[in-house]
Symmetry: C2
Subunit: 410 residues, 2 copies
């Protein structure tokens, strides 16, 4: 009997009717002869409502207490899903993160998973039960409740799949899989049947919302096969699998975009060794994830450094940068939240040097100005004005003919 | 530095403004130099809303999953209160029942407290923190979340006060204390300044809603001093203390009433040894609390047995009674939910045999029919029609002149 981990997001359990639908889907999997572990998020907008409650009491609620509060969202949904499965005549048992021994570090609201003890899950599976686990949450070694932050439930699912040796980790979502571009922007975008971890990592890192970066990293590190699929029908979605040498590799996987970032610029910094280190060490110590980093060519031994961070971190990043800037003798720090990032991802592009040029041409043809560029072996990202990003995505998608079918390497 | 345990009910934390009020009150106690442990219930009608959610999914949700669901209510309120206290510049930390090691048996939805480990509370108090504990919930030895059922938060507070050796357990409520009768029915009712555990037990058992029976039993068993007081002002409420020989003892403490019970009658039972035992063993095994029990005088070796239970248990009690009745050859079972119980409580009445007669006269003078009578050394209860109970309470209160002052023993 093979073990399947299924993860359903907040929109899949937004109301009691939807919870009953998820219960039916879970039971159908069980009746096919699989052992099933289900990870779910909080119901619909529960997390937002809890955050609102917290902010009506405190402008800066302590992170530990925020975790205490937010973790109730998933606890409610697991209990309700378990009831719905019982109602269908199957035996189910719900667990909090603490109860399954999902041990994290103590970085409240952004905790990282250290290990999964999982004993209670295995006992329950042996007893023939369907196991339902609260996503997004864990517990420190000294029994403090933590939450995993952005993408937490996906990461919970992948971590459980790794710990339990599941055959597959199914991520259910309201779209059919991973697409060559956001279908709301590009109606001709195609579903990608198969992606390597590396391609999916770049897609996620550059704005594909369907899977969270952390969960893909976790899957890659532990070799967990992910199947991203629709919660509305039985059709195949996108498989995320290890890259195989024999695998035919598409040059281009897709075009992604990200509107959630802001650009911080430290102006007129003395160009001497250690400057960038001081700045990014300070940001790292404050647990701020920096995405793109650009340092200008030095003039008169002075330079400027720009970087992008998530918008919610921008204020904090700017404040830290101002402190560092003052110490370093920089002239000032500016924040620009009118930017967007458009990226082209594909594991095949590293052997095709013309890809970058073709992408820049697509933007130039539309008169879209590029403000920052960042490349890796399998992606190219450009920062443009936020109000031009949809046009940019469409232009690049069409330039590479992604609507016509997979672009294979020769 | 003395330790005070304070308990605030759901109406005291019904919205964020009220939570802030509770925070101010807690901080004021801390600033007087006390160590403070706060126990709170779920916000306002949260528990009802969660129950509604559960019942929209399942007519009979499994008790374990119900506990998983309901326990989130208190977890939300402790986190919010902790944030509100931080906002006032004091250090606070919130805990679930599981986190403070409030260990219960595994009777889900009605769990009994086995012990309180409390280590995390003592550590936090030593660090100068205000400790906030989720009422109404605990955890089994194998880490399953339980709830304590009716009166659970009061019991949590008293259990913590006992375990931590608190000076007093303050129960905050929306009334000024314990009264000689419900002031909504009897405007002349007086606040009782001091009651023994035994008197309070009978008051609670017979319908005084201000304190739950279980918590008073717990307080008596472990010698915890309770102060029932208003959450709206600083005035003294009612102290619940051990009975002292030297204490002047009022003959009558008060008149209580209870509308929450139903009467179940097993008719025409063969009158032979073991009949009552079979019936009440079956009810006890189903965890149904039986209040009054009356067995009629036997005629032709057949009798009838009536008992009262809480209305929400009536259907289940009737079903069990029908099974037992069939086995015993009884003719049938009836349920009557149009009853109410009016009781007179007072530790002094045992040496005053005229008290019962005077109570029955008060009812007779108003033409109120008595359907069942039950007595103990310190209380007399009568079952009457529900629609006559308010009149009955007023009649008895006035008959004993309780509005005039404490009726002392000679």
């Amino acid at each position: 009997m093979s073990l399947v981990v299924q993860k359903y997001g907040g929109t899949s359990v937004a109301d009691t009717e939807k919870i009953k639908n998820v219960a039916r889907r879970v039971v159908a999997t069980r009746e096919k002869g699989h052992q099933v572990v289900v990870v779910i998020s909080a119901l619909g907008d529960t997390t937002d409502r809890l955050l609102e409650l917290a902010h009506s009491i405190s402008r800066r609620p302590p992170a530990r207490e925020l975790d205490m509060l937010l973790s109730t969202g998933e606890q409610i949904s697991v209990a309700l899903l378990s009831m719905a499965i019982h109602e269908l005549g199957h035996d189910a048992i719900s667990f909090t993160g603490a109860q399954v021994g999902l041990i994290t570090d103590s970085t409240h609201t952004k905790a990282k998973i250290l290990r999964v003890e999982g004993g209670s899950i295995e006992d329950s599976l042996r007893q023939g039960k369907i196991v339902i686990v609260a996503g997004f949450q864990g517990v420190t070694v000294d029994n403090q409740i933590t939450t995993l932050g952005r993408g937490g439930s996906d990461t919970t699912a992948v971590a459980l799949a790794a710990a339990l040796g599941a055959e597959v980790c199914e991520i259910y979502t309201d779209v059919d899989g991973v697409f060559t571009a956001d279908p709301r922007l590009v109606p001709e975008a195609r579903k990608i049947p198969r992606l390597s971890y590396e391609e999916m990592l770049e897609m996620a890192a550059t704005g594909a919302k369907v899977l969270q970066l952390r969960s893909v990293e976790f899957a890659r590190n532990y070799g967990v096969v992910i199947h991203v699929r629709s919660s509305f029908h039985e059709g195949e979605g996108t498989w995320i699998v290890p890259a195989e040498e024999s695998m035919e590799r598409a040059i281009i996987s897709g075009v992604t975009h990200e509107l959630g970032e802001a650009k911080v610029t430290v102006q007129d910094v003395p160009d001497r060794p250690g400057v960038a280190a001081s700045l990014f060490r300070a940001l790292a110590d404050a647990n701020i994830n920096v995405d793109m980093i650009i340092q200008n060519v030095s003039e008169d031994n002075r330079t400027s450094i720009s970087f992008t961070v998530m918008k919610e971190d921008a204020e904090k990043a700017a404040q830290i940068s101002r402190e560092v800037a003052e110490r370093l003798g920089a002239s000032g720090v500016t924040v620009d939240d009118g930017i967007a990032k458009v990226s082209l991802v594909g594991a095949g592009m590293k052997t095709h040097p013309g890809v970058a040029a073709q992408m820049f041409e697509a933007l130039a043809e539309r008169g879209i100005n590029i403000e920052m560029i960042s490349t890796s072996t399998i992606k190219i990202s450009c920062v443009v004005r936020a109000d031009r990003v949809e046009e940019a995505v469409r232009a690049i998608h069409s330039k590479f003919g992604l609507e016509k079918g997979v672009v294979f390497r020769e």
